[in-house]
């Protein structure tokens, strides 16, 4: 099951809610304003580090670029829209807003 999150962790509780339901090993993809979660050195970095121990974490590069986020937490893999499709090929999708 691929989980996607499109909300900034600062503004809405989507990130904190979603990670409670993640099963170990399931991929997590941040898109749109969700990508702020992978910016290194922000308030949510410790929570993200916890997720990275058990789950592969991805972020949509076009959304990172659009927001000027260049400092990205170690272990996060950046993908483009094609990579997003590749993840959907492998998994059913759970889109969290």
């Amino acid at each position: 099951m691929l989980h996607t999150i499109n909300k900034s962790p600062f503004e809405k509780n989507t990130f904190e809610t979603c990670i409670r339901f993640l099963m170990p090993g399931d991929p997590l993809l941040f898109i749109e304003d969700g990508v702020y979660a992978v910016q290194s050195g922000n308030k949510f970095s410790p929570a993200l580090e916890g997720v990275l121990k058990t789950n592969p974490v991805f972020a949509l590069r076009p959304d990172l670029d659009a927001r000027g986020i260049t400092a990205i937490a170690d272990g996060v893999e950046c993908v483009d829209y094609e990579g997003f499709v590749a993840l959907v090929e492998e998994h059913q999708v759970n889109s969290w807003f």
């Binding site: 499109n6 898109i31 749109e32 304003d33 076009p62 483009d80 829209y81 094609e82 997003f84 499709v85 590749a86 959907v88 090929e89 059913q92 999708v93 889109s95 807003f97």
Partner: protein, 119 residues
């Protein structure tokens, strides 16, 4: 692979419509079939032909219309959601249609994936 898309927000106000479009394009480019884009909640406002954004901006309704013409993607707006929000056959852009939630159920059943974009 056959993919259905559910889009739950209107154009411009939320990025959901843009991401859905970019995803659909990439899926088609990778050889997949995008069967249908079903519009729900404010999503139904994606297909009004009265949309007239600034010249240097994308035309979101026009873009969905093109996708439908080029790749046979059905662009379908939920009838109940459309009626609430003033979307009727009179303003529908070419390549889109109004239909019921039963169609969404069919889309969910007949596709390998149903992916939601919203807010």
């Amino acid at each position: 692979m056959k993919i259905g898309i559910l889009l739950k927000e209107g154009p411009y106000n939320h990025q959901a419509s843009d991401t859905a479009f970019k995803f659909a394009e990439a899926a088609i480019k990778k050889g997949h079939t995008v069967d249908a884009v079903f519009l729900y909640n404010d999503g139904v406002t994606n297909v009004t032909k009265l949309m007239d954004p600034p010249q240097d901006d994308r035309n979101i309704a026009g873009r969905w219309s093109e996708l439908s013409k080029k790749h046979g993607v059905e662009i379908l707006a939920c009838i109940a959601a459309s009626k609430r929000r003033g979307i009727s056959d009179d303003v529908l852009i070419e390549g889109s249609a109004i239909t019921g939630l039963g169609t969404l159920t069919d889309i969910a059943i007949r596709n390998d994936r149903l992916i939601t974009f919203g807010d």
